[in-house]
Amino acid sequence: MNTNLRKLFYVPILHAREASENKQGGEFNAGQSAVGEMWAGITAKIEELNLPWNKTRIYQDGLPVSGKEMEIVTRLAENGSLNHLLILNLLMQGAKLEGTENMDFLMREYDLLNILLMKQAGADMSAGDPGAKAEYQAKSRGLLAQRDEFIANRIKTTLQEGEVSLVFMGVMHRLDKILEKDFPISYVIYRIPFRSVGAIYNTALK
């Protein structure tokens, strides 16, 4: 067995508001429950892997290369993000955190989403604004491809021989297609509750 091989564990995830609203509002609805169970399942599957944490690097969707990666993850975990809470726990076991994203790309994505949300807010509540959504999707898709190239390059250049990477990435990214040429990839998949995160997923990713 070649112990110098760089291994990659890929975890497709759904973005959701997760537990932050629950913490404040008190009500725990089925959608939040499904998201909670998704993360509980992912956590259990990762534990089963018995990864060497001191040789593991974590790459998280949406985390800019900024020098403030740890601060961002901590803040989001404090706000109730189960995704970032899991990462914090893994870091405490010895894993290393890497920034993944180009800040300019992220800001462009943020701007696109803001424009969409403003147009949606001005449209009929039930119908939304299909034109604005289609425009967002077209632009976001192109941007997503650029983001994936950047993230792939980050992983290739930061992951050392003999190390393991754990990549948490939104389901609509196609990062795996780029990385599979360079890494043996194992997938960690438990439950993807599309309907439970409904509008958030459909607006932001589809």
Binding site: Y187, R191, F194
Partner: protein, 218 residues
């Protein structure tokens, strides 16, 4: 029916239709009086409860028995009864007969009306004929796989809810599933209780404003 007869043993063939025509209040009194006990009466094809026509939002507890041919005969009578609504009709498509049979049995036990298909084309045909409320679809099947099956189904049916169940999860099929508007994508390590709970979650959500609805409202 004498609700004071606490010794009475319910029998599907003999009692179910009468049962169904009782008012909600009468059934409720029998439950409170201990005449009807949970798990007393059910039939194996999956009808799970009764609702009075005037109180369709309220579902009373389940009554169960072991099923069998006699029960099936009575089930057909009950299906015609206007005061009965099923909690959901579920189509399971899986090429592994043992897995299919197990899931159908579990779903029936939980009160769902369940149907099975062992390949994609049969699944497509059954969806058109039976209009289930939800499809549990295996991804990896010989011939027409789950994604191809779902593409065919979506050409005619945009509303049916779908749970993908796979032992070979991969981002490619997750993206395909997202494009085909599935409700859930599950890795096959799920146990039966978890699967049934998730089915309940998916069916328990508000129905789309147009298109399919449950039971006799179809």
């Amino acid at each position: 029916m004498d609700s004071s007869n606490t010794e009475k043993k319910w029998d599907v063939k003999r009692d179910a239709k009468i049962f169904c025509n009782l008012s909600f209040g009468a059934i409720k009194r029998m439950i409170l009086g201990g005449v009807i006990k949970e798990d007393d009466l059910v039939w194996h094809t999956g009808m799970s409860g009764y609702r009075n026509a005037g109180e369709q939002e309220e579902l009373i507890p389940l009554f169960r028995t072991s099923g069998g041919n006699e029960a099936k005969k009575t089930d057909q009578e009950i299906t015609r009864c206007k005061t009965c609504l099923p909690t959901g009709k579920i189509l399971v498509v899986d090429d592994e007969p043992d897995m299919l049979e197990l899931m159908l049995r579990v779903l029936a036990k939980k009160g769902y009306q369940s149907l099975g298909a062992t390949n994609g084309p049969d699944g497509i045909r059954l969806n058109e004929q039976e209009q289930p409320d939800l499809i549990v679809l295996d991804l990896r099947m010989p011939g027409m796989d789950g994604i191809e099956t779902l593409r065919h189904i979506r050409q005619k049916d945009a509303k049916v809810r779908v749970i993908i169940l796979t032992g070979y999860g991969h981002p490619d099929t997750i993206r395909d599933a997202a494009d085909l508007d599935v409700s859930e994508y599950l890795s096959k390590s799920f146990d039966n209780d978890a699967l049934v709970r998730i089915i309940g979650e998916v069916l328990g959500r508000p129905w789309p404003s147009s298109g399919r609805q449950t039971g006799e409202q179809k």
